[in-house]
């Protein structure tokens, strides 16, 4: 059957099982929006294209499905860029669709023209400029395949508006065959055997679990490996939720703001079992002195992540879940009794310090069952430290790129994907103002998201660095005289606003918010000048932490 390009796009999205798109209209996507007017696919209209990209990302993280966002050419497309880069850094499956000026105008500096495939080349897994209507269906098929397989990531499809209007015969390809793209899933059997032996022979093993374990849906396998063999587990920011935080073997997050006991444990370990993690600089600190006694097993689907930062003794390239299943069968339980006792000792000596009461109370009130998104900065680290994540896909945070303004639109995506869950955005007074316009999206679409602003009247994380490393010269990090009245602001959008200034009101406010069937903005007036500890100064050795008694 002959169809226009815009219709082919909609039909192809249906074939991919897409039922929601996050987007914003504009001149060069009018034919697509015309199709969406009566298509069975819902478009959620955000108030800014960046919000659409983050919402698609949050939807993908919460559900495991590929998120889709849509924007017009030029400024619409460039507004997606931060959201695409965020998804790229954290390996999130996303398809971004942009309109482009008409084919014959490309390169002419036409109105609202931007070379978006050129701009997004280094922040997409792959991208396409559709030059021929006959390629469109194949391109969409490939884009969804690339985005969701191997190490997932965002793929952008740029479609000139004349191609959206041209017609061709529609047939959606059944299969994809790209000779340049064949991800490895199985894992080398010899390497798995070697890894099993290394674990069996180890005395001080530690599991270091990253976002790859969540993406691969491998939390059950991680649990089995850890619990059956008595191996302590530390997680990266993106790995939180892969292993239940309250389990006796859980050490919490490691790295710059990791727990003291996680950092000590990995430094003293004789075997690191890295699972879907990439030894990022926020995790390892000073590389030369990172875990000096440890052998390293690295399980990852991306060969380029292996031996990139840390030399690996036993690399296993493939899907984390598939490999862990095989590994679990092959491992003989090592004797880790003394090691576990040592780890316990660290844990008792250095309990987590200066709890952030608001985050703890959110945990208590939700019993760890909520989906938590975060902005970036102190709010993010306190969420990671003080909310006990029990399940995969409940911690949704911009890890690699560190995008302020991520949390709220991501919460929108998460709430759309998981309508029955309670979704909290743990925010700061700085970050929340970076995508506050999405209050309209959340209210209109009846998404009962709870925004907990830890309002300390400053850009807290930057202020913390200024305090510790820039002689307390607080250059442009104070906010309070400029911040809006968040209660009035919430109300003007039709949301519920609350201002909480006393400790005794914290828990009731949270309970009240959970009961409220509307968007709730909670302005928690917390003390100024509270810092995130422990802290490893950038480039420092990770067991030399600030803010831990007797250890600094």
């Amino acid at each position: 059957m002959k169809m226009t390009g815009a219709k082919i796009l909609i039909e192809s999205l249906k074939k991919e099982g897409v039922d929601i798109i996050f987007g914003y209209p504009g001149g060069q996507v009018l034919p697509i929006f015309d199709q969406l007017y009566d298509a069975p696919i819902k478009l959620m209209l955000t108030r800014h294209e960046q919000g659409a990209a983050h919402a698609a990302d949050g939807y993908a993280r919460a559900t495991g499905k590929t998120g889709v966002c849509l924007a017009t050419s030029g400024p619409g497309a460039t507004n997606l860029v931060t959201g695409i880069a965020t998804a790229y850094m954290d390996s999130i499956p996303m398809v971004a669709i942009t309109g482009q000026v008409k084919s014959f105008l490309i390169g002419n500096d036409a109105f609202q023209e931007a070379d978006i495939t050129g701009i997004t080349r280094p922040i997409t897994k792959h991208n396409y400029l559709v030059e021929d209507i006959k390629d469109l269906a194949k391109v969409i098929k490939e884009a969804f395949h690339i985005a969701s397989t191997g190490r997932p990531g965002p793929v952008l499809i740029d479609i000139p508006s004349d191609i959206q209007m041209q017609e061709t015969e529609f047939s959606y390809p059944e299969k994809v065959d790209m000779r340049g793209y064949k991800p490895t899933y199985e894992g080398h059997p010899g390497q798995i055997k070697r890894a099993a032996k290394a674990i069996s022979d180890s005395k001080r093993p530690i599991l270091y679990v990253g976002g790859g374990a969540i993406i691969s849906n491998a939390s059950e396998e991680v649990r089995e490996l850890a619990i059956t063999n008595d191996i302590p587990v530390t997680m990266t920011l993106l790995g939180l939720g892969a292993f239940p935080a309250t389990h006796r073997l859980a050490l919490g997050m490691l790295g710059m703001h990791g727990t003291a006991y996680a950092n000590h444990s990995i430094m003293e370990s004789d075997l690191i079992i890295a699972v879907g993690a990439r030894f990022d600089d926020r995790v390892t600190g000073k590389l030369d002195e990172f875990a000096p006694h440890a052998k390293v097993i690295h399980i990852d689907i991306d060969p380029a992540s292996v031996s990139k930062n840390v030399d690996v003794d036993i690399p296993i390239v493939g899907d984390v879940k598939t490999i862990l299943k095989k590994l679990n069968k092959a491992v003989k339980k090592p004797d880790t009794k003394d090691w576990i006792a040592r780890v316990e000792d660290w844990r008792n000596k250095h309990p987590a310090i200066r709890p952030q009461y608001v985050v703890e109370q959110i945990y208590e009130a939700t019993k760890g069952n909520a989906i938590i998104t975060t902005e970036v900065g102190q709010n993010q680290m306190w969420a990671a430290q003080f909310y006990k994540f029990m399940k995969p896909r409940t911690m949704i945070s911009s890890g690699g790129l560190g995008t302020m303004g991520y949390g709220f639109p991501a919460a929108i995506g998460a709430q759309v994907g998981c309508p029955d869950e309670v979704v909290f955005d743990i925010a700061g007074d700085g970050s929340i103002q970076m995508n506050i316009q999405e209050l309209a999206t959340a209210v209109i679409n009846k998404l009962p998201i709870k925004i907990a602003i830890l309002n300390n009247c400053c850009l807290g994380m930057v202020r913390q660095w200024q305090e510790l490393f820039y002689k307390k010269r607080y250059s442009y990090t104070g906010l309070c005289y400029d911040s809006p009245d968040f209660v009035k602001l919430a109300e003007s959008y039709g949301a519920v606003g609350m201002k909480i200034t006393k400790k005794k009101d914290v828990r009731p406010a949270i309970e009240n918010a959970i009961k409220t069937k509307n968007v709730v903005v909670m302005d928690f007036r917390v003390v100024e000048g509270e810092n995130v500890f422990p802290m490893v100064p950038a480039g420092g050795v990770i067991n030399k932490m600030l803010g831990v008694d007797g250890l600094a």
Partner: protein, 171 residues
């Protein structure tokens, strides 16, 4: 250390930009890059000469392999390949040394591409060392311009690089 890398890529719009962009974004160095179609019109072949330690080269190979449009990557080892480069050199001459220049060119095995009254354009193909030697030899005449294509290379013996052949083992 210098490495000669052959890359088979889809013969598509924008692929060169992807490769060049990868090198600049990740801080890898490119000494030269030559590209052209192959016996299969859907495949282009690039020869990239790059400098770096073993770890960097391993990353270059892996990152290249991650690009969807890259079909195969080979980092040639010493003695496993032949390489050539084409160079055009223009030297200054005058009525006095014209004959001498033509003799030197002839003896060196290079060819005259164009001979004028004030300059001669010379074409030569060879490996890195032979081109270096030729440039030294011509220096006394006064070199006006040099244009080089960059190195191209292919494996010898059983090393045939084909898009549909057995995949190269990486890892």
């Amino acid at each position: 250390m210098k490495h000669t890398i052959s890359v088979l890529v889809e013969n598509k719009f924008g692929v060169l930009a992807r490769i060049a962009g990868l090198f600049s974004a990740r801080g890898f160095n490119i000494d030269s890059l030559a590209v052209g179609p192959t016996e299969d019109p859907s495949v282009s072949r690039m020869t990239i000469v790059s400098k770096g330690d073993d770890k960097t080269l391993e990353q270059i190979k892996k990152q290249l392999n991650k690009l969807i449009d890259v079909i195969k990557v080979v980092d040639f080892k010493e003695g496993e390949f032949v390489d050539r480069e084409l160079v055009l050199i223009r030297i200054a001459i005058n009525t006095k040394n014209r004959k001498e220049a033509l003799e030197v060119i002839d003896a060196s095995g290079a060819k005259v591409a164009n001979a004028g009254s004030k300059s001669i354009s010379i074409e030569a193909a060879g490996d890195q060392n032979s081109i270096k030697d030729l440039l030294e030899l011509l220096k006394p005449f006064g070199i006006l311009e040099v244009v080089r294509t960059g190195r191209i290379a292919m494996g010898i013996d059983e090393r045939i690089l084909k898009a549909d052949g057995k995949p190269e083992v990486n890892e």
